[in-house]
């Protein structure tokens, strides 16, 4: 009887460790919403339909402390420890597979801006992200069309102010930071995102 109890206790311990070790991927949708289509109330973007290679890179950046560590990037920091939890390639692979099962929805357009001015500003963006915002994996540029537009605004602001792309190890981020710096004003961000909304 004593032996059996000991075995049971050991099993319980193992189960516990296992539960703590293996992130439950259904937590993704707690923040990112049903089917990962985004939640504006907590500023968690749409991740459904995002390119797996791009998600992988962002999860690695979060995990390795290259994104979401700036003290003023609060929503980024909400994600950062989750990246750390995914820990290794196996964790990230599992997350990618999970996200791949989502059914993407076109998010509502919420950003107002001058699409004409946005269109000319977008010419710079198009070089990497494509004329239709379709993205270009070989250049490391994700698709922009049909993303949550408020998230694009926040990220352009973050790049501009150095909340993102500030870590020298994040070469893609540094490149994007330099380009965001060329956007002349806050209105330019809204204009270019309003134009991206027309590419859906």
């Amino acid at each position: 009887m004593k032996v059996r109890l000991a075995v049971l206790a050991a099993l319980a311990f193992v189960t516990n460790v296992d539960a703590a070790d293996k992130p439950d991927l259904s937590y993704c949708t707690v923040c990112h919403g049903a089917h990962g289509n985004g939640n504006p109330a907590i500023r968690a973007p749409k991740i459904a339909g995002m390119e797996p290679w791009y998600i992988r890179r962002q999860l690695e950046l979060f995990r390795d402390g290259m994104r979401g560590t700036h003290p003023d990037d609060y929503p980024g920091h909400e994600m950062q420890p989750v990246g750390v939890r995914l820990r290794d390639d196996a964790g990230i692979e599992a997350a990618l597979a999970y996200v791949a099962g989502f059914q993407p929805k076109t998010p509502p357009a919420t950003v107002d801006g001058d699409t004409k001015r946005g269109s000319s500003l977008y010419e710079t963006c198009a070089a990497c992200h494509g004329a239709k915002g379709e993205g270009n994996q070989s250049l490391g540029a994700p698709a922009l069309a049909s993303r949550t537009d408020w998230y694009l605004v926040t990220q352009l602001q973050n790049y501009k102010t150095g909340l993102r792309g500030d870590d020298a190890r994040d070469t893609n981020g540094a490149q994007m930071r330099a380009i965001a710096a060329t956007l002349p004003d806050e209105q330019a961000i809204d204009d270019v995102v309003a134009y991206i909304n027309t590419l859906r």
Partner: protein, 526 residues
């Protein structure tokens, strides 16, 4: 015998014939006793017939559980869908071995397994006027004990005064009142008062000021028993503490919270369930637990011709529930990420109302050192980020105790805490606690931190309604859309309190009852 009866004489007669309840009712009628109106528990009509009205409840928080309990008693067919691993919502009592389900930082509570070693991470006290909640405690057999919220022997610490040295709460309150009273008594002149103030009124006013500050015969404040004594050695004469320097006292931000314990919701007499606030959850679950399904995240809510369709996911499997009515206590900040077909003039509110960022830390202490310092229960205040220390009123004089090591309300400070790892938070809380209780660190055995805006399936506490948002959205969100009702403390004028949650549930189920009665009447007429 035509002599008019005095009011007291009349009451005496009523008592003689009708007993004390009659006296009480009569007194209310005559306006002698103060009375406060409460939200009434709705009188739901029992469901008869073959087809029972089906209600799906989203979220097993207090509002969802109370509504379920009420409706099921009257024959409704109720199903509760809960996303997390447990029922109760923010009514969370942590004990050894419990999961603290924080996004990115899951922690396991490491307290010893002992009936007195628990931490109420959410609600922790019940005011005497929260009659709906107290009514359930009585009905469900939940034993209550007094909760000590305000303790004048607890400490006040602020780096801005006395070089950071803590003082007793009673010293701050008494010495500042004494100073203010002396200042007023010496500067108040009869000619400053309006003509309707007689000289007798003036004398009475001065006397009030004297009593307010406990001034001496010459209207001077020289210390008071309210501020305490230098020692409690009753073999010799008592010696009052010297009043503290007013210039130091006035430097402290404590003035903004010094009246906290006088608030309607925070003043004696307060209660707590014996064994933890989640005894309330256990009480409800003993009645309705069989219809609550945990680990079930809602994916979509759709208004239909018939009622409401809900899809939820449990262990990767999707299930459709079709109900006549839906009571929804999912926090609005999460609802904004769930698929729905609500009109925008309704769903727009989900993002308009902001989420609060309350934060708590619980620390298991190997020794109840505070009791040696003459502190039995209550709250110490500090102007550091931890803001409050609570001393448990249960388990007095036992070896160990679980203290509250931080409780913060502001968004900025909440974010500051949540940016740290759990280990960093405990370390910061220990460093700050040292300023109130030297040697604090040596007592800490284990700590848990609960940033409510990072807790899975919650991501906020509590709903922040500013006036303009309330004007624009509250009525719209409180009213149903189709057969869908938003409930919870978030849809009350008392967010952050279980009583607010229950009242919102009452509001919604009373409306459902009205609609169901209306339909029954139509059927009869047909």
């Amino acid at each position: 015998m035509n002599q008019a009866l005095s009011r007291r004489g009349f009451l005496h007669l009523v008592g003689a014939f009708g007993g004390s309840a009659a006296v009480y009712q009569a007194a209310l009628g005559m306006g002698l006793l103060p009375t406060v109106a409460h939200a009434d528990r709705p009188d739901i009509a029992p469901i008869g017939g073959k087809r029972r009205t089906k209600v799906v409840v989203l979220g097993a928080g207090i509002s969802g559980l109370a509504a379920t309990y009420e409706l099921r008693r009257k024959g409704y067919d109720v199903q509760v869908i809960e996303a997390s691993h447990r029922a109760g919502g923010r009514n969370l009592t942590l004990r050894g071995g419990d999961l603290v389900d924080e996004s990115g930082y899951p922690q396991t509570c490491g307290f010893d397994r002992d009936p007195d070693l628990y931490f109420n991470a959410g609600p922790a006290r019940i005011p005497g006027h929260h009659s709906a909640l107290l009514g359930y405690c009585k009905e469900l057999g939940i034993q209550l004990s007094p909760f000590i919220n305000d303790n004048r022997s607890a400490l006040v610490q602020d780096d801005a005064m006395f070089g950071g040295r803590p003082i007793r709460n009673r010293e701050y309150i008494t010495d500042t009142r004494g100073f203010i009273a002396e200042l007023l008594a010496k500067s108040l002149k009869p000619e400053q008062l309006s003509a309707s103030f007689t000289s007798a009124d003036y004398s009475r006013l001065l006397e009030y000021v004297r009593q307010f500050g406990e001034l001496d015969g010459r209207f001077t404040y020289t210390g008071s028993a309210r501020a305490g004594f230098v020692k409690h050695d009753y073999t010799g004469p008592e010696k009052l503490k010297q009043p503290l320097a007013i210039s130091e006292l006035m430097r402290s931000g404590f003035m903004y919270v010094m009246s906290f314990g006088e608030l309607d919701d925070q003043s004696a007499m307060m209660m707590e369930p014996v064994g933890g606030m989640d005894r309330v959850v256990a009480g409800f679950m003993s009645k309705v637990g069989d219809c609550v399904r945990t680990h079930s995240q809602v994916e979509s809510i759709r208004l239909t011709e018939r009622g409401v369709d809900v899809v939820y996911r449990n262990d990767g499997k999707r299930t459709l529930v079709q109900a006549d009515y839906c009571l929804n206590c999912i926090p609005m900040q999460l609802l904004a990420g769930i698929e729905h077909n609500f009109p925008p003039e309704y769903s727009g509110g989900f993002t308009a109302v902001k989420r609060g960022k309350l934060f708590k830390i619980g620390l298991q202490m190997k020794e109840r050192f505070w009791e040696r310092e003459g502190i039995y229960g209550g709250i110490s205040w500090t102007m550091q980020d931890i803001t409050q220390l609570w001393y448990p009123a249960h388990g007095i004089h036992r070896d160990k105790g679980v203290m509250l090591g931080a409780y913060t309300f502001g968004d900025d400070v909440g974010e500051k805490w949540s940016r740290m790892t759990p280990a960093q938070r405990i370390e910061a809380a220990i460093q700050q606690g040292e300023k109130l209780h030297p040697g604090y660190r040596s007592y800490v055995e284990h700590g848990v931190s609960i940033p409510w805006h990072r807790m899975n399936h919650m991501l906020g506490c509590s709903a922040r309604w500013d006036d303009s948002v309330r004007d624009q959205w509250f009525k719209r969100l409180q009213a149903p859309v189709g057969a869908h009702y938003l409930i919870g403390d978030q849809l009350s004028y008392h967010s952050g309190w279980q009583e607010g949650a229950i009242h919102s549930a009452y509001h919604a189920i009373a409306d459902i009852d009205k609609r169901v009665r209306g339909q029954a009447a139509q059927v009869v007429a047909a």
